[in-house]
């Protein structure tokens, strides 16, 4: 996972829109992938949550595209992306488990939103161009809302009392 270590100087609003759009589309791809994994492993409830998260991130991506207008959002870096390691908001795919709970998924989402918040906060404080600074601050506000939303959703899901990923009643066994 990445975060503030990936902050690079952003010189224009167009560049920042492209970065923000890339962050959201990367998140869409990862949540869709997690949803597919959960469908494959018959965890339909969690698959729906990941699909909802993907849909939400997709709406953010579209909103950024709309705000960018004629500036566009296509990254000049091509399909691989801007990041030295990973996009700050990216869900940690390696944390997935077939016995994940909705709470685990929301905590995964919260961690991503918090990394994105740290990323934009760092960017806003480092920006020298007033327009870039203002735009970065707008993204900080938006990410703050997302963090709060995750906290609100988490309150709907109390700590699990049933089987969790840490207590797998059917663990993988190496053949004897």
């Amino acid at each position: 996972m990445s975060g503030t270590s990936d902050i690079q100087p952003v010189s224009s609003s167009a560049q920042l829109y492209a970065i923000a759009h890339e962050i959201e589309t990367d998140a869409v791809e990862r949540y869709n992938l997690l949803a597919e994994q959960m469908q494959t492993h018959n965890n339909e409830e969690l698959a729906r949550i990941f699909l909802d998260l993907a849909r939400a991130e997709g709406l953010h991506a579209e909103e950024i595209r709309r705000l960018a207008g004629d500036l566009g959002v296509e990254s000049k870096r091509g399909p691989i992306g801007t990041w030295r390691t990973e996009s700050p908001e990216s869900a940690d795919l390696s944390a997935a488990h077939y016995l994940m709970t909705p709470r685990d998924a929301l905590q995964m989402a919260l961690a991503g939103e918090e990394r994105a918040l740290a990323f934009y906060t760092g960017l806003a404080s480092a920006a020298t161009d007033p327009a870039v600074k203002k735009l970065a601050e707008d993204f900080v506000e938006e990410e703050l809302e997302h963090v709060e939303l995750c906290h609100r959703l988490l309150r709907r899901y109390p700590l699990p009392t049933g089987v969790t990923a840490d207590d797998d009643p059917d663990p993988p066994r190496a053949s004897d």
């Binding site: 791809e29 494959t40 091509g78 691989i80 030295r84 390691t85 390696s94 993988p172 004897d176």
Partner: protein, 277 residues
């Protein structure tokens, strides 16, 4: 290096409708994402790529792409791929394998593919275990891996794939970590563009049989040195390698092996006559 290729296709265009059945959390999902991004960055349509694999979890990858694919025989992906590249040099051939398929069953082919230097890109998804067959030790398993199958550990020194690749003549040698999708994609692009046999060892955690490998994301680090074209210098670097250095180690200058082959007759009847005893 970062890829800045034209956007003829998007990464999703290289992903097939077949849903992967790997375990959630498996590193091979990351490799698939990196691969599709790399293919898009290379800017060729899916039908100009062929992905050849052997057997194992990682070798399922051709089915998950829209490229030509060949899910072959255990350990034999490299000779199949070499044959394909030699008769169809217009195709970009990528070979996918795992540490069991590639270093044990296919270990001999690995050495000779490096030596032969056909223009292939070999991705080995290394999780230090046979995952598909439920957790037997592989050639890269640590000697103290203590399980019901290996009480007290194997006691066997692990195979060092980068040393073998370099010593055998691979023209490009790198290590990536599956979780670093962008970095892995960039290395794949570079490996495909580099002429000759390119080998990438991709550390790809098996979260089911090696849950300890979830910690790899905190252990991997960028290699402190840049790539070299001097094999001796690369070899010396490997002597102090901790197994978690990431990046391109070696870019060689050997000319790829690409013999001129006689045209294959299009008429199948004529073609079959060539096999008559």
């Amino acid at each position: 290096m970062s890829a800045t290729a034209p956007l003829a296709c998007k990464p999703g265009d290289y992903k097939s409708e077949t849903k992967p059945i790997w375990c959630p959390g498996c590193g091979d999902y990351h490799v698939l994402m990196a691969l599709t991004r790399a293919l898009a960055a290379l800017g060729l349509p899916p039908e100009q790529f062929a992905i050849v694999s052997g057997i194992g979890c990682s070798s399922r990858i051709p089915a998950y792409t829209t490229c030509y694919g060949f899910h072959g025989v255990h350990g034999r992906s490299l000779p199949v791929a070499a044959g394909l590249k030699i008769v169809r040099p217009d195709l970009t051939v990528i070979v996918a394998s795992g540490d069991g398929d590639g270093y044990s069953i296919g270990g001999n082919h690995f050495m000779h593919a490096c030596r032969r230097n056909v223009d292939l890109t070999y991705l080995v998804m290394d999780n230090h275990i046979y995952g598909m067959t439920k957790g037997q030790p592989s050639p890269t398993t640590e000697p103290d891996f203590d399980t019901a199958l290996t009480p007290g550990g194997t006691g066997v020194r692990p195979f060092n794939p980068l040393v073998v690749a370099l010593a055998s003549g691979a023209n490009f040698v790198a290590r990536a970590y599956a979780g670093n999708i962008h970095e892995t994609a960039n290395i794949i692009v570079e490996a495909v563009r580099h002429p000759g046999f390119s080998f990438i060892e991709i550390l790809s955690p098996c979260v089911t049989y090696r849950p300890d490998q979830r910690a790899w994301k905190d252990r991997v680090h960028a290699a402190p040195v840049t790539a070299t074209d001097d094999a001796a210098r690369a070899a010396r670097r490997l002597m102090t390698d901790d197994g978690f250095n990431l990046g391109v180690l070696y870019r060689g200058n050997r000319r790829p092996f690409q013999p001129v082959v006689a045209a294959v007759p299009c008429d199948l009847v004529e073609f079959e006559k060539g096999f008559e005893i």
